[in-house]
Amino acid sequence: MSNILELKNVSFDYFLNGETALRALDDISLTIKKGEYIALIGSNGSGKSTLARLLNAILVPTSGEVWVDGLLTSREEHRWEIRRRVGMVFQNPDNQIVATTVEEDVAFGLENLGIDSSQISRRVTEALERVGLSSFRHHAPHLLSGGQKQRLAIAGIIAMRPRCLVLDEPTAMLDPRGRREVLDTIQRMNRQEGVTVVHITHFMEETLEADRIVTMDRGKIVQNGKPEEIFNGETDLYQLGLEIPVLLRLNRILRSEGLDIPANILNLNDLVNILC
């Protein structure tokens, strides 16, 4: 598989009055393959959101290079194409709505790309179907639930047919049902449509379905591996301000007392099967 995202020795500084106030990213290198599902974790201030914003050229590195599908983010003439290929979804559903009906909201990005109206209509239909909001097409977005609003934000992005979806804590403000809806949608995009996903989250349970977890601490990448490696490994996640999902903590206790629980048991059904 080829790489869709490539960061080469990337550093990023935030400036204040012309001086470096904070080195948010410190010499990071990372490659992400087409179709991968990456969970990005780390405590507040570890650099996750800065990294996310480098992926579609909202920010460009102070030094180093970010490549998207063979395009360099620091080249002005590549930026529009990069933003079409890498879509971002943010934390707060209310800040991402721009229109007065659901269909217009999805169409907004497409109109800006100059796509003709019959095609826009087709793409809106398709995007709403993919996030399960077809029956809300003519509704006012502000009357949707939190989970529906986030799915609408995702629809607006996928209508532009991006190759990569970057989500910065998309479930932080949602209730359990809304969270489930959004997570299912992200997973479907990845599994069925082959969209590459970079998912930032503070909920460790949400990372268990990822192909790979990347852990950040103070501007550096400190871990990069499969969920079972990250959560069963030796690195003290609590030192990094993180934690181990409840079920995996239970597995550790059972294992330490001699029950044979394989390391790749990550979800409830697998654990039930092993115990039954």
Binding site: S43, D175, G241, L242
Partner: protein
């Protein structure tokens, strides 16, 4: 200590936007309890808690504090709000003073306390939140991290020396370390400072471990109440109203469903681990 009687609340009554947010709610909260309030977004949780210290006036029904209606006109609303303190969602958005000291002192200052008592209160509030008084008092709230800001906002509530604290999704948006720390501090306020705690949350794992009683809301109605073990023993109902079970409860219920004689009323990893080990070792089964 707190009693809600037949309370209904209608937003924008008499307009086309009329919404009945709460329908005939009755409940009692005793002194020293730690209660959890759960339900989907829009189920009425936040509307309910805003009635508990008189921020909202019921459309019908009543709220009683120590047996007295807070709307009888006989009690001072300000006194009620210092006894029953409410911390809103994302309270750090309401920080506004130049220093941490001034921000924490804002509430108690309105109670008309003198400077000496005020200083004591600020120190108390910050220390309860594990923020060192000397090193934080002169800092700008805006220079703090998200978790620190949240704790400063909480210190401002505690400086009022309330008897009851109502926390509306206190851990929303925090990172895992921030979440763990704040929950540990809330637990301490309950166990050591003997505060009555009312916590609104979407996190079933947390609330099942912390609360001694739960109130479950759906579409403006109180649909379930009781100890976590009782509430989460109705998995069908919980899922029907859009919530989920704590992951450990779900595990135990599935094991029980598969015919294992196992307890389902446990909510910490340690307890559940012990129960499963005992089951497999204690002769109740011979597998694994």
């Amino acid at each position: 200590m707190l009693e809600v009687k037949n309370l209904s609340h209608v937003y924008m009554p008499g307009t086309p936007f009329q919404v009945e947010a709460l329908k005939e709610i009755s409940l009692k909260i005793e002194k020293g309890e730690f209660v959890g309030i759960i339900g989907e977004t829009g189920s009425g949780k936040s509307t309910l808690v805003q009635h508990l210290n008189g921020l909202l006036r019921p459309t019908s029904g009543d709220v009683l504090l120590d047996g007295c209606s807070i709307w009888s006109g006989k009690v001072n609303m300000r006194a009620i709000r210092s006894r029953v303190a409410l911390l809103f969602q994302y309270p750090e958005h309401q920080l506004f003073e130049e220093t941490v000291y001034k921000d924490v002192a804002f509430g108690p200052r309105n109670l008309g306390l003198d400077e000496k008592e005020l200083q004591k209160r600020v120190r108390y509030g910050l220390e309860q939140m594990e923020l060192d008084y000397e090193s934080y008092k002169d800092r700008s709230p805006f220079s703090l991290s998200g978790g620190e800001k949240r704790r400063v906002a909480m210190a401002g509530i505690l400086a009022m020396k309330p008897e009851v604290i109502i926390l509306d999704e206190p851990t929303a948006g925090l990172d895992p370390a921030g979440r763990r720390q704040l929950l540990a501090l809330i637990e301490k306020l309950h166990s050591e400072e003997k505060l009555t705690v009312i916590m609104v949350t979407h996190n079933m794992d947390e609330v099942s471990r912390l609360a001694n009683r739960l109130f479950v809301f759906s579409a403006g109605r109180l649909v379930l109440q009781g100890e976590p073990a009782v509430v989460f023993n109705s998995p069908q109902k919980i899922k029907e109203i859009g919530l989920e079970l704590p992951v450990l409860s779900e595990l135990l219920l599935k094991l029980k469903d598969s015919g294992k004689n196992i307890r389902t009323d446990l909510f910490t990893v340690e307890e559940v681990g012990k129960e499963i080990l005992e089951y497999f070792r204690g002769g109740r089964s011979c597998k694994v």
